[in-house]
Amino acid sequence: MTAHRLVAGLRSRDPEGGWSLTVIGDEPHEPYDRVHLSEWFDARDAQALALDRGVWDDPRVTLVAGDAVASLDRTASVVTTRSGRQVHYDRAVLATGSWAWTPRAEGTDLPGLFTYRTLDDVERLAEWVRLRERALGRAVRGVVVGGGVLGLEAAAALQRLGAEATVVEFADRLMSVQLDQGGGEMLRLLIEDLGVTVRTGAGAHRFLPAGDGSVGSVELTDGSALPTDVVVFSVGIRPRDRVAREAGLAIGERGGVVVGEACQTSDPGVWAIGECASVDGVCAGLVAPGNDMADVVVDRFLGGERVHRRADDGTKLKGVGVEAASFGDVNAVSAGALEVSFVDPIHRRFRKLVLSDDATTLLGGVFVGDIELYSALRPLLGRPLGADPAAVIAPDGEGLADTELPDEAVVCSCNNVDAGTVRSAVTERGCRTIGQVKECTTAGTVCGSCVPALTKLLNAELSRAGVTVSDALCEHFAMSRATLYRLVREEGLRTFTEVVAAHGTGRGCAVCRPTVASILSTLRRGHVLEGEQAALQDTNDHVMANLQKNGTYSVIPRMPGGEVRADQLLEFAKVADDFGLYVRVTGGQRLAMFGARLDQLPEIWRRLTAVGFESGHAYGKSLRTVKTCVGRTWCRFGVQDSSAMAVRLELRYRGLRSPHKIKFGVSGCARECAEARGKDVGIIATHKGWNLYVGGNGGAQPAHAQLLAEDLDDETLVRYVDRFLMLYVQEADRLQRTAPWVAERAGGLDELRRVVVEDSLGIADQLEAAMAEHVRDYEDEWGATLADPAKLRKFTPFVNAPEAVDGDLAFVPERGQVRPADEGDAVAYPDPRVARDVALLAARVELEEAR
């Protein structure tokens, strides 16, 4: 990776081509992104880790892959590779990295023991687990030796391969180098929540074979033994310095090629960067210092004076599904250091700040479970915190709001970009979006953990410069959705024609038409398919179903509170059976049927409405589901009737058109089984009533909902939700979810609380009245459609051949059901029912064979 960085840097900073480079690597691939090694398990494809390949197409650059350097002859200035190739150099750069160390112990030569370092390692590990599972006929048991960052990644990787995982760590806690006792303990809880077994205070003593000669068990230093089918070592790395050593270069006491601040070795013609280089006796095991060293060498080659200095770069756990990060003096070993911590074992959060003896200078931080503060605080290391530390790490974490980073504070440590560089990218180089800032400064392009901090800097700089980022909806409307909403409401506009005549140009597009449709819908200006509005609806809203990849639709009836009657289930099943549809439980706690043709939708819904189902609005930018637990009525822990409240809320807000989809969660106690804090509106029961959280969501940018009001009775809760939702619908931008809306709203959550709870703007009545109108006028869209022959006409697939069926549709049997055919499927059936019957037959045969 550091070699790639060097090549990319030299290429971009040496446009005249004064330098040409030969890169020699022993791995058979192009250099790849080792930092994200664990992501290989998602894609199972080395492509997922590819770095920018453009550098290898450059005529100045030669890549020799799959051939290691065997020797370095400094007097002749030539390197010789294992295959006998000789390359002359003016300057040589060693970027040989490190290797994963394995302890000397009995049985480490048994089949089934792996390290976790290279692409080859993960590929061989995956293959072993696959074959072992087949041979054993059960889940593979895995042991990871080493509970550091990589060890935890390896454990998560084992789980992703379908294996059980136990982490064995010799120290008394996980991530013992980076975390303090409290953080390590919280991390253990989180890792165990994932189903990984953790054994601390014990090392691996020896490995014993199973009957077939592969590894079968591991004996620990405390005398106990664990059965195991695969072992992954992650006990540390060692610099790869053999070539340097044999060439007579100075080697550090603990290994590694000794380099100075210019990254030159004891031979001024030989340089070393990355994990093979020893700076002040230490070899760094992170990408950030490696990148910085590569940048230093590029600068020096081009006549610059840049120097490499070791900074504390902090560490962040990645690819495990658990958040942990730290920086600085985590164990408060500095003289007189003070620690301020916040521990919340229920929500699995741990935050700690280490401060100088006068409680002003930030010396370190530990964050486990929730590392939102990490990227904001790490750049302040060694500087005044500028806020009350207790307020900073308090549950709300709002104490930091006004702290401003100094220009020289490093924001992106992977690429060593400071706040000043980001600011000048905005003020002097015209960056207006986070993407432009990344491109311009390279900040945020490696691990991405600094993107929130970058966004903050960008926004602050933009507003300081008085720049209004264009919030135009599209080329047809020069204003934001919020402004358009206000205009449509105030001027009483009723159709798209009126709206575009008054405020837009042309005849609209796929962006503004559905937006105007949504605004007209929220303002109760008629059925979504009535008159001109029908022409504005995206296909999902137009046929009230979700378009799937093959042009068929999914059918998802509403199941308020996740409740469904047996007679409804029977009819649901009969419909799926009669039409050959694929059935599944959705992520939103309800049942769905997939694969319905356009022309089948009315008949399917006729049968569903007959047993009391109604539209679930799964297709709309509207309220989706209110997820819930069973609550007090069934659960021994529940303190309120969460199911009844969920049903009440879902029925109240069903059909409300909004800037984006809205999801609710209602939990009957603090155990939070409904995961309400991951929803736009989250409600958690207390002994005194309900706590109301707002602004959470899952998805690509997950956000936790924040507490808006506490201990509310039923009526107050509903009133506050009315106000919050209506305010969001009126103010938010197109496709803006509640989390960014809350975050970006002037005054943040406190101001929102004043508006919703204290009615500081005096608009509560208006908001509640608008919602009351919505509730009063609600009508089931499918019910209304079925009663209107004009609307049913929209479900004719061919206007000149009403009975014909799309002949290109094809379905493939899979796991007892069907899926759309892909290119390359050998067998596919035009009729999903036939495909389904074949799938059922195959399932029966498999069952017979298993007997």
């Binding site: 022409a535 137009h542 697939p797």
Partner: protein, 130 residues
Amino acid sequence: MSTFVDICALDDLDPERGAGALLGDTQVAVFRLADGTVRAVQQRDPYSGANVMSRGLVGTHRVTGDDGVERDVDTVTTPMLKQVWDVDTGAVLDAGGKDRRPLAVFAAQVRDGRVLVADTPTERAPAPQR
């Protein structure tokens, strides 16, 4: 030489909305625009391969012509992944970051209140541009 096929009455189509139609085995998407004229393009979305173009949204896009004059071209957006085409030429206006895959265009006209569509494509968009 293509032949015009009688598809339906103009009133069978909703303004500013599309409908699928069959020309023998060929599927086409027919759109009735706000001014009462009609357009027809291939029904198959070149990106997803699904027969869904008639379910896309129509609209306009402002372009500056070679003569420097601004005008609106009529567009259709696929409901699948939102690529945008010029319905008159089949040219891709927004490929959404993908390669450019034009639509086949079929001549279409309204005569005596009936919608007529040519049975073979008359125009293909220009070859993919880089």
